[in-house]
């Protein structure tokens, strides 16, 4: 009897699962929204709005590696469990947002502080944004104007912007980063695809290490150092694993197929 019911339930569940894939277009992030991370581990519990972090207005100043390795931010929104006290002591956001650091001739505003005055409240809102900043759209536009256009995502070709010297992201932070010798990066290589006729992927360590060093990807995302040693599929990438760790939500999105699948079939 139990078996019959199990089969019946299984049939129902598969039915629901099929219905869930609705075959329609999902809403895609607007250029200024792409790479936006909302962090709410403790904010609302502590009486603040969640923190809204934009990758685009940090990426022109610092490489991914600096925050995700040296400062220690996890690669998943909300996984770092940042506390106000950490920022006050100079960890995480507080590594730069300490009220002392200067970027160019501008002082970087301080993150959290123990005592909050009325004036401070405006500062809190810079990150704990309780209302949608209606000007962000415009701020982004004037920011993006001077950078080379890209397809999808932010609509900015960050790779080109860096190569052309339009942005100069710093890879180290005084007092946080420890100087290390750089390793020679491998030459570009191609990865075969499973679908016949689909162009091969050209992977460039050189392009990736500018932003990520070795440590952002190895060994967590790609354990094997041997080419082809880590097996993964496009489906897993779409699910946010392997290349998808960055290329679904932060780095140029997977919908820009041609950027990876660039080696025509032989």
């Amino acid at each position: 009897m139990k078996v019959v019911w199990t089969i019946f339930l299984l049939v129902c569940i598969t039915g629901i699962a099929f219905a869930a894939n609705d075959g329609s277009m999902k809403k895609r992030a607007k250029p200024y929204e792409y790479g936006m991370v909302t962090i709410n581990n403790y904010s609302v519990k502590g009486g603040f709005a969640p923190v809204v972090f934009d990758h685009w207005n940090h990426r022109d100043k610092f490489t991914c590696r600096l925050c995700h390795v040296d400062i220690g931010f996890a690669m998943k929104g909300g996984a770092t469990l940042i506390k106000a006290n950490d920022n006050i002591r100079g960890y995480f956001c507080g590594a730069c947002h300490n009220g002392m650091m200067k970027y160019g001739d501008k002082k970087v505003f301080a993150a959290c502080s123990k005592k909050v005055t009325k004036e401070d409240k405006l500062r809190c809102k810079k990150c704990h944004a309780d209302t949608v900043n209606s000007k962000k759209d415009d701020e982004f536009d004037s920011f993006a104007e001077r950078l080379p256009k890209g397809r999808h995502g932010n609509g900015i070709d960050w790779e080109k912007a860096q190569e052309q010297g339009l942005i100069k992201p710093a890879d180290t932070l005084e007092g946080v980063s420890i100087k290390r010798e750089s390793l020679d990066s491998q030459k570009d290589f191609s990865l075969p695809t499973k679908v016949k006729g689909m162009p091969e992927i050209i992977f460039s360590h050189r392009k990736h290490t500018v932003w990520n060093g070795c440590e952002v990807c190895h060994p967590d995302l790609f354990v094997s150092m041997k080419r082809g040693g880590t097996k993964y599929s496009m489906v897993e990438i779409f699910e946010g694993k392997f290349c998808g760790a960055c290329h679904t939500s932060v780095a140029f999105p997977l919908t820009d197929c041609q950027r990876c699948h660039s080696k025509p079939p032989q």
Binding site: F8, G23, M25
Partner: protein, 251 residues
């Protein structure tokens, strides 16, 4: 217990296909040729004291492929879901990317051209337009756009500012039909890619995960899902059975 089980399965077996068949044959109302592919956009127009915008696909398709607006300019594939605002248009986004007085008519002084509120607006233009030497079809707007492109009657541009680097992927798919006696669908990536780019369909509309057609039967397509995202109201309609199921005997 067993009785309940059989009652339940019986109920599903008899009721579901009935409902399914009904939906399968409930095609959208056939529209006059000049109106097919016209959409009425009214997200905020009437709220702001303007008439809704009427957009005609046929008029724009002669100049640009689908991907220009639906990928490069970020127009969503569902009416009223794109946050088109006057400010954005003035900044050169959405409609304003072309309607700036340089590529096409400017916004100032031309409000009525778009905010007509009339789905039939300037339909006489269509009859004039359709006199051209287009390859014909008896469905949708009466023009075989694929042939028109192939024969060079129209030469729509593929990008506005950011050129797309195409993947040379010409794989043809043979999609088996769910019903016995219905010929399989011959799907051509090549023809679709003349108009679209990969991301218009993948991975949202067609997930690459499920390598089967079982999950996109006609009952979904007719609701605007899968092929129906375009082939109900904008690209040639699904009552033109033969174009997808070429082996079918008659339409």
């Amino acid at each position: 217990m067993i009785r309940i089980f059989f009652l339940l399965t019986g109920f599903i077996a008899f009721s579901a296909p009935g409902a399914w068949c009904d939906e399968t044959f409930k095609l959208p109302k056939a529209l006059p040729r000049e109106v097919y592919g016209n959409i009425m956009i009214n997200r905020t127009s009437t709220k702001n004291g303007m008439l809704p915008v009427v957009f005609s696909h046929w008029q724009h398709r002669t100049k640009y492929t689908c991907r220009v607006c639906h990928a490069e300019l970020d127009f969503n594939m569902k009416t009223n879901t794109t946050e088109i605002r006057e400010v954005a248009n003035r900044q050169g986004k959405f409609c304003g990317a072309c309607h700036n007085g340089k590529i096409s008519f400017k916004l100032n002084g031309n409000c009525d051209k778009c905010h007509s509120g009339d789905i039939d607006y300037k339909s006489e233009n269509y009859s004039e337009f359709a006199k051209k030497n287009f390859p014909r079809t008896s469905f949708g707007d009466g023009i075989n756009w694929v042939e028109a492109l192939k024969s060079g009657v129209i030469a729509p541009k593929n990008f506005l500012k950011t050129e797309s680097r195409d993947i040379p992927f010409e794989k043809n798919l043979v999609l088996e039909a769910g019903w016995a006696g219905i010929s399989p669908v011959l799907f051509s990536h090549k023809i679709h890619m003349q108009w679209l780019e990969c991301s218009n369909c993948h991975p949202d509309i067609f997930n690459i995960k499920k390598k089967t057609t079982a999950h996109f039967s006609m009952s979904y397509i007719i609701k605007g899902q899968f092929c129906g995202a375009c082939h109900l109201t904008v690209a040639f309609p699904i009552n033109d059975c033969k174009r997808c199921h070429p082996g079918i005997l008659r339409n």
